[in-house]
């Protein structure tokens, strides 16, 4: 009996097991990632559509802090308030729901994030009368005004992620 015949079963096991192991270690995670919705990057001034609504970032601005107390803008030194306004309008077959916004930055190779300020008035920031700080999608058009508190200088490299359902859209901030 040749060496090959004596070891055929073992060789067959190796031939089957190694690709199977590689699939489990590499293929399965890749397939998992492929099934996860990615982040869609939106170009400056462009409108996207999600859940039957269109979203357009119409304005954004940084308000550098001058400190707290008399004669200041009540924004702590070294921080900035970032405000952004979205036009949200029903488009085709709008679905009731909500959306979330988050300011994000990848400057310096580090992912960082900021949540909306729940009470902008604490920093003497007045939200526009006709605007809402909550993103409730109920079939009506509205202007969404979101406010974030960030370290100074964050604005230059930041984006706003808008998540509607399972989709996330990344809007660049407005730079004059």
């Amino acid at each position: 009996m040749s060496w090959l015949r004596r070891n055929l079963a073992a060789l067959l096991m190796i031939v089957l097991a190694i690709p199977a192991l590689a699939f489990v270690l590499v293929g399965v995670p890749l397939l998992d990632d492929a099934g996860r919705p990615g982040i869609v990057t939106v170009k400056q001034g462009k409108t996207i559509e999600a859940s039957g609504y269109s979203f357009t970032l119409t304005a954004s601005q940084e308000f550098p802090g001058t400190g707290t107390g008399p004669g200041t803008n009540s924004i702590p030194l070294g921080t900035s308030l970032v405000g952004a306004i979205f036009d949200v309008e029903p488009a085709t077959k709008p679905i009731d729901g909500s959306c979330d916004t988050e300011l994000t930055s990848r400057a310096g190779g580090v992912d960082r994030a900021w949540s909306t300020v729940s009470s902008p008035r604490d920093f003497d920031y007045e939200v526009g009368d006709a605007r809402s700080t909550n993103c409730l999608l109920d079939g009506e058009a509205f202007e969404l005004e979101t406010v974030f508190l960030t370290p100074a200088g964050t604005y230059d490299h930041a984006t706003i992620d808008v998540t509607v359902g399972a989709e996330t859209f990344r809007f660049p901030l407005v730079h004059e």
């Binding site: 960082r112 900021w114 508190l149 960030t150």
Partner: protein, 192 residues
């Protein structure tokens, strides 16, 4: 020519003994994934992956005199340990509701008695430092435990701390006066 039997026997014994040492020295499952605990003392700035912490002072009191949201005095059958902190999230928002005070082997969870917004929530996001208080409610006897001289404020900042880094501030709780009241102000963003 083959090796003498005693050499083979000794080699097998050595291999078994070596294996036994490796098995005995290997960490258990919890040890393999345990968090890292960078440590400091009062006044030090200690950083973990997503949290930088500085403890300015630790004080003991019978009543918390909460000066916001019309809460007023809050008593305890034991004693309040009030930890004045400056906390900064490094990457994202942070919730400290799982922070603990360790005295010997006993772990006391941070109290949620303070009304929102508190220092338990670093809700703005990365790089925004906030000054405020964390409070722990402990029995008076705990202050007499041998470990009270080296109590640890363990600033867990995620539900799953495995392989994460968690700042720890080591404090001496013995010899501190217990005040009748301690003023608690609302957390505040500090100048950067």
């Amino acid at each position: 020519m083959s090796a003498p039997r005693w050499v083979i026997g000794a080699a097998i014994f050595a291999a078994l003994a070596g294996s036994a040492v490796v098995v005995a020295a290997a960490p258990d499952n919890d040890g393999i994934t345990a968090p890292f605990f960078p440590k400091g003392a009062v006044g030090d700035t200690v950083s973990g992956r997503n949290l930088t912490a500085t403890v300015g002072s630790v004080e003991l009191t019978e009543y918390l005199n909460i000066k916001y949201n019309d809460v007023g005095d809050t008593s305890t059958d034991g004693v309040w340990v009030v930890v004045d902190t400056v906390l900064t999230a490094r990457l994202d928002t942070v919730i400290l509701s799982t922070a603990e005070l360790w005295i010997d082997d006993v772990r006391y969870r941070v109290s949620d008695i303070l009304p929102a917004p508190t220092s338990l929530q670093l809700s703005y996001g990365a790089g925004i430092a906030q000054r405020g208080s964390l409070v722990f409610e402990v029995p008076r006897d705990a202050l007499k435990a041998p470990g009270a001289t080296q109590a640890s404020i363990v600033l867990y900042n995620t539900g799953d701390a495995r392989l994460d880094s968690v700042p720890v501030i080591v404090v001496d709780l013995t010899g501190l006066d217990i005040s009748a009241r301690h003023r608690i102000d609302e957390r505040a963003v500090v100048d950067q």
